[in-house]
């Protein structure tokens, strides 16, 4: 009997397999990883990465790229820390304002990409510079957040049923909620289908009468919103704001999306897969931490190697898929 698996799913399946094997390896080698909490800690430590990677998945599915997410996260942490601590704002005002800021930034970048026909790479690169630089106009040094609400949220533990003493944080719940909503958005709504169509071929989508322009702007707006949300989650997680936070995070997010089986050409992939990409990222960090002898830079080598493996798989399984890009000046 021949097992039939959709070719598109292969990279994702390999990722899941690597995750399981990697975890089993860690389980057998290190005592610390046998605690259930070690598993949930991966979620706790990477909640912000999951949120922003979900947003990145939409962008990449549409055939675009967003380099500004790390900087927007940093800007959110700095701005909210500054407003909370120096200006004495209440979290009830800061959080909506931050979300609004991220959304507006995303919408601005999306509009420039669409209306001026500038490559997403360049626009979001400029956005990244602007957001990262603005952090240092606000504060040159790190600011610790001592707001009671943020502290409460950070310290609150949600117990996991069936596991003793295991817990997750509110951040994780937010990230998982984002994931569920994103899966619904990508696979069960008109917006999601349009995203896939644009990624498959923007021209065809346009000729089909799909609202390409509106959807493209919306994608970047959504990503801006999710970056700001990730920034809030990150500032709750770290309880501080600093302009060098989340440096190069966009690359981690892109790597997670690619490892999660989304084609960088756009049009193929699953939002759900991104979670596994993020989990692998966290698992590698955990393995290296528990090993204790390897230095942290092995994380980067391992993530690079894994990205390469999933890329190799993608090109092996998707080699038949040819895409013609018509470039117009």
């Amino acid at each position: 009997m021949k097992l039939k698996i959709d070719r598109k799913l292969m990279p994702l399946l390999v990722t899941i397999l690597v995750l399981i094997v990697g975890y089993a390896f860690g389980y057998s080698q290190y005592n610390g990883m046998r605690q259930p909490q070690a598993f949930f800690n991966i979620f706790i430590d990477n909640a912000f990465l999951l949120i922003t990677s979900v947003g990145m998945t939409f962008v990449i599915l549409s055939g675009g790229i967003d380099l500004s997410v790390g900087a927007v996260i940093a800007l959110t942490t700095v701005a909210s820390a500054h407003l909370l601590e120096m200006e004495g704002w209440s979290p009830g005002a800061v959080i909506p304002l931050m979300l609004l800021m991220g959304t507006a930034l995303g919408a601005a970048m999306g509009s420039i990409i669409h209306f001026f026909q500038v490559q997403p790479f360049i626009v979001t690169l400029a956005g990244m510079f602007i957001a990262r630089g603005t952090c240092f106009f606000i504060s040159l040094t790190g600011v610790t957040i001592s707001d009671p609400f943020y502290r409460q949220v950070a310290l609150y533990q949600i117990p996991i049923p069936f596991f003793e003493k295991a817990f997750i944080s509110i951040n994780v719940m937010i990230a998982l909620a984002v994931l569920v909503i994103a899966v619904y958005l990508a696979h069960f709504t008109r917006f999601g289908r349009t995203v896939y169509a644009i990624g498959g071929s923007e021209e065809s989508a346009l000729l089909m009468g799909l609202p390409v322009g509106r959807t493209k702007v919306l994608i970047y707006t959504l990503n801006g919103f999710l970056s700001a949300l990730a920034g809030i989650v990150y500032s709750i997680y770290l309880l501080s704001g600093f302009g060098l936070n989340a440096l190069n995070l966009e690359m981690d997010a892109i790597a997670s999306v690619v490892i999660g089986g989304t084609l960088l050409d756009g049009g193929v992939g699953y939002v759900f897969g991104t979670m596994f990409g993020v989990l692998i990222n966290g698992l590698i960090q955990n393995l290296i931490m528990f090993n204790g002898q390897l230095l942290s830079w092995w994380t980067r080598i391992a993530i690079g190697a894994l990205t390469l493996v999933s890329l190799g798989l993608q090109s092996a399984f998707a080699a038949t898929r040819r895409r013609r890009v018509v470039v117009e000046r």
Binding site: I112, M128, F136, L264, L311
Partner: protein, 363 residues
């Protein structure tokens, strides 16, 4: 009248024109707001001044921009140049004194002596070969395995710094060997030595692309890779060459950097220079989608970025905050380059020119 319109069109279509206009604007800003910006002194047999400083500091960016131009001309992009710079810096410095990598700076004072374990030419050659190898690897991934350039080079960008850490064993290597300082700090005929390096690499690239058919092939591959293949161009090897050359340029950049700061830090050498290099190329009017390119325009683009940075420092803007202004400049320039803005602006100037000519005719 027709002639003046024609020359305006020719001027406007010249790739070097717009970057020079932007550069001139920034210089004009400096002439007004930064006192002493144009002052050049002759001291100890060298020229000193902000402009010379820009030439010296901008050299790394200019080198990266030359390599990046060729890659972008093929329709690709190389995100790994910053990491390759780190690899180059670490390879070269570790060869000067491998012990520093093993035991760190806290060891015996004789290790801090002015000596080298490897001859200077050999360590430069090795670093450049390693970096050309890195570029070759990128080229292989892009041309043979058909991975999207951005992701293919992302792999080395992510892993490269880890590899550089591996080379220096996680240490920050300090260089005590004085002849090595000359690469990034030396002066020749009153001008920074780095200036001559840039000129040499530029000439090499220019001869390669404009005096042989390779330049034409690069553009043709960038415009349509498949069509180039069917017209008998070995498009894979052309791409391979572009990436290898880009890695080579990044290697020189890494040498200059490590020589300039007299140390090699795998984490910070060439951090986010890849983005600056891409911006320089985009400033130069080369499209990210590939095709027509101009090496000179890219170098002017690099100078624009360096001048902006130096200007901001002169105005007392903190280094990190300066990136915001740089981002704004990028955004404005990119919007100016976009077809909509160009058409609008061109129309405006042409009609103004026509009006002017008409008035002139009347008088």
């Amino acid at each position: 009248m027709a002639e003046s319109r024609l020359s305006w069109k020719r001027l406007r279509d010249n790739k070097v024109f717009w970057p020079i206009v932007v550069l001139a604007l920034i210089m004009l800003f400096n002439a007004i707001f930064t006192p002493g910006f144009f002052k050049i002194e002759f001291k100890d047999g060298h020229l000193f001044g902000s402009l010379i400083d820009i030439l010296n500091r901008g050299s790394i960016l200019a080198l990266l921009a030359i390599g990046m131009t060729l890659v972008i001309a093929t329709g690709g992009v190389d995100l790994s140049v910053g990491a390759v710079m780190a690899i180059s810096a670490c390879t070269a410095t570790v060869m000067i004194n491998p012990q520093l990598a093993n035991e760190g700076v806290k060891s015996a004072p004789d290790m801090l002596a002015n000596f080298t374990n490897t001859p200077l030419w050999l360590l430069i050659l090795t670093a450049l070969l390693v970096c050309a190898g890195c570029g070759f690897w990128n080229g292989l991934l892009v041309s043979r395995i058909n991975i999207q350039p951005m992701v293919a080079t992302l792999v080395l960008m992510v892993a490269g710094r880890g590899i550089a850490q591996l080379i220096v064993n996680g240490q920050i290597i300090t260089v005590y060997y004085t002849p090595y300082y000359f690469i990034g700090n030396g002066f020749l005929l009153g001008l920074p030595f780095t200036f001559f390096i840039v000129v040499a690499v530029f000439l090499l690239a220019w001869l390669l692309t404009r005096k042989t058919a390779i330049g034409l092939f690069l553009e043709s591959v960038g415009i349509n890779s498949t069509a180039s293949f069917y017209s008998g161009i070995n498009e894979k090897n052309i791409k391979l060459l572009a990436y290898t050359f880009c890695g080579f340029c990044a290697g020189i950049g890494g040498l200059i950097y490590s020589s300039n700061v007299r140390s090699a830090d795998a984490n910070n050498a060439g951090l986010s220079t890849e983005l600056d290099a891409i911006l320089a190329v985009v400033f130069g009017g080369t499209l990210m989608t590939g095709g027509r390119f101009s090496l000179l325009a890219s170098i002017v683009g690099a100078l624009v970025i360096q001048t902006t940075t130096t200007t901001l420092y002169a105005l007392g803007v903190p280094a990190m905050a300066a990136t915001a202004v740089k981002g704004l400049v990028v955004l404005i320039v990119v919007l100016l380059y976009s077809q909509q803005a160009r058409e609008g602006l061109g129309l405006l100037i042409e009609s103004a020119g026509a009006l002017f000519a008409k008035k002139g005719g009347q008088s």
